[in-house]
């Protein structure tokens, strides 16, 4: 067991997989000497050389497309999108190419590609450097979407994503990069598509992922003081969604509050709520609630930014409105 920060856990997964498999290469803006905007790939260029840690021009759509083409002929590229917001520039290559080749080519093709994308607000970076855009990819057949909360999950799920033969959008959270946690030694590869029950309770299920799992746990601790026992389910993978774990928890607690940092309309929480409505309607004692980012661009001012994001207080209030 080693204690490491979320960003270190990601780096160590990259190192382990690059050592294990020479087909794994990294592409992205300023990832070599600079180590990426968040220094996640620091020192990897020195270790693996310029043929495996490749700085790209600022051309998101085409360098993602380059990774798709390299994957199609047998490499296993990992692309870093400097800020998840910039993934909008690469939508065509992700949605119309990477996601579809395996199906459209009748199973001949595999696209073992990982797109790492730092998401999330809270640092005052403004509307083009703060979004959580995972719902776009959850909506796209052919993609897997992973959004870990703990360093252990970031490490084990990234390794699984790299070994997966499908394109995986790996959503990291900027505010979590410094968060520390234990990562097992020897390294583990965690399964994609499995949620983690991180707190047991019987009154309400808080469904969350990425940084929001931390807020949900804080809210659960606060609600415990008022005699409300929350279960917290960390989805970890958003596509495929662990529907069995979700429905099992809701069947037990009979209530659900979904906590997500993406915007509310058409968001991941809407999909989670629909799964509960379709598969667990009979077990509900109250409406499903969502605590999400308001349907607005992320404002730069700290006071405004905090106002539109989910918070522990908003989660507590949502739970109290149900009980």
């Amino acid at each position: 067991m080693a204690t490491m920060a979320y960003s270190q856990a990601i780096r160590s997964a990259l190192v382990e997989e690059m050592e294990r498999d020479e087909r794994v290469i990294l592409l992205g803006e300023d990832i070599a000497l600079y180590g990426g905007a968040f220094r996640v790939t620091r020192d990897l260029a020195k270790r693996f050389g310029p043929e495996r840690v490749i700085n790209t021009p600022i051309s998101e759509n085409s360098f993602v497309g380059v990774a798709v083409g390299a994957a199609l002929v047998g490499l296993r590229p990992i692309v870093e999108i400097m800020f998840m917001d910039f993934i909008a520039l690469a939508m065509d290559q992700i949605v119309n190419h990477a996601a579809k080749f395996h199906y459209l080519y009748g199973g001949q093709a595999r696209v073992p590609l990982v797109v790492r994308a730092p998401a999330g607000a809270g640092r005052g970076y403004g509307a083009s450097h703060s979004q959580s855009l995972e719902a776009w990819f959850v909506h796209t057949p052919g993609l897997k979407v992973v959004a870990p909360f703990t360093p252990r999950d970031a490490h084990g799920l990234l390794k699984a994503a790299i070994r997966d033969d499908n394109p995986v959008i790996f959503v990291e959270n900027k505010l979590l990069y410094g968060a520390k946690g234990d990562v097992p030694d020897p390294a583990e590869v965690l399964p994609l598509g499995k949620a983690a029950l991180v707190r047991e309770g019987e009154d309400v299920t808080l469904v969350a992922y990425s940084r929001m799992t931390g807020l949900a746990l804080e809210a659960a601790a606060r609600l415990e003081e008022h005699g409300i026992h929350c279960e917290v389910l960390d989805l970890r993978t958003l596509a495929p969604l662990d529907e069995a774990a979700l429905l099992a928890s809701v069947a037990k607690t009979r209530r659900a509050v979904i906590v997500e940092e993406d915007t509310r309309r058409g968001g991941v929480g809407a999909e989670v709520a629909a799964v509960i409505a379709e598969g667990g309607f009979g077990s509900l004692d109250s409406p499903v609630r969502r605590v999400a980012c308001a349907d607005a661009p992320i404002p730069c001012s700290p006071a405004l930014e905090q106002a539109i994001l989910p918070s522990v207080g908003k989660i507590v209030a949502a739970v109290e409105s149900l009980i």
Partner: protein, 317 residues
């Protein structure tokens, strides 16, 4: 090399007969959807693929049946793909704009204008990193040269000196938009200068000229000299797709280009060299027609994939 040109002529005629039959199958409602035919442009894929090795890679545009056949795909299975049948290269899931055969090094036609350019560039990156000695041919039209992917990919390929030849099939119209309305430079090849790579314009209706230009570019690419932008001027005899009535160009202009037809060009050259008798030409045309008949029969005898499998195969296991 007149004997080589006979083989090119045969392949160009096969492509044309394929496209003419596809056109007829649409009219007869035996194929549905849409299609983009390459009649008039056959010399570009045939000449280009003749200049490289079978193990080299190629990716195409939406107008890609000719390239698929030039890359060695079987005419029966290509026809089956267009008819949406199980024996098509992609089980009928891809269709005209998404047909690939990786065992032939054919990375696919592409329904997104310019979408295949970065994919081809990535295949070239992989070829260089793995030192396979392969060269990639990336085919696209004049319209695609206004997409960001064209500019971004050419820039990356030049910076990284990738083994790739960008083959622009300039047929003068992006759907209905004439080149000069969408592109201020006279020659698309001129854009190569912006990326620090050689650019060349060749007569895309002369299969030998295309072959020689691609040969030079592919040799440079294979020997570490980096990418080339090759503009092949040509003309599509038919409209952009099934719905096109060609209001944007004159019948006189079309007549001028019909006289420059690449198949006529090769026929005349071979006749002049005494390599092609009228009887041999008739025999060749009969062979090609029989091959297309057999392809249609094969395709129509192939069932569609079981509809219960329509949503299967989205993810690789």
């Amino acid at each position: 090399m007149p004997n080589d040109e006979l083989a090119y002529l045969r392949l160009m005629k096969l492509i044309r007969a394929f496209e003419e039959r596809v056109d007829r199958l649409f009219v007869e409602a035996r194929i549905h959807g849409t299609t983009h035919l390459c009649i008039g442009q056959e010399a570009v894929p045939v000449g280009a693929c003749a200049a490289v090795r079978p193990t080299d890679l190629a990716s195409g545009s939406h107008r890609g049946h000719g390239l698929a056949l030039a890359k060695g795909l079987d005419v029966k299975r290509l026809m089956a793909e267009l008819l949406g049948r199980r024996d098509g290269y992609c089980q009928g899931k891809g269709g005209t704009q998404h047909v690939a055969s990786l065992e032939h090094g054919f990375l696919g036609t592409n329904g997104i204008t310019g979408g295949g350019i970065p994919v081809a560039t990535g295949a070239a990156l992989a070829a260089r990193l793995r030192r396979t000695g392969q060269v990639v041919l990336s085919f696209f039209g004049d319209g695609a040269s206004n997409q960001g992917t064209f500019h971004e990919s050419l820039n990356m390929a030049a910076v990284w000196r990738l083994p790739i030849v960008y083959v622009c099939e300039n047929n003068l119209y992006a759907m209905s938009t004439p080149l000069h309305e969408a592109t201020a430079v006279e020659r698309i090849a001129a854009r190569a200068a912006a990326y620090g790579m050689p650019g060349e314009t060749v007569d895309g209706n002369d299969v030998l000229e295309v072959r020689e230009a691609v040969r030079r570019a592919a040799e440079r690419a294979r020997s570490g000299g980096g990418p080339t932008l090759l503009e092949c001027t040509t003309y599509r005899h038919l409209g952009h797709s099934k719905s096109d009535e060609r209001e944007y160009r004159t019948r006189e202009e079309e007549q001028c280009w019909l006289a420059l037809d690449p198949i006529l060009r090769s026929e005349r050259r071979l006749e002049g060299q005494g390599e092609l008798s009228p009887e041999a030409l008739v025999a060749l045309e009969e062979q090609v027609a029989a091959e297309i008949d057999a392809a249609v029969a094969f395709a129509e005898a192939s069932p569609p994939l079981d509809p219960s499998l329509a949503a299967e195969g989205v993810y690789a296991e």
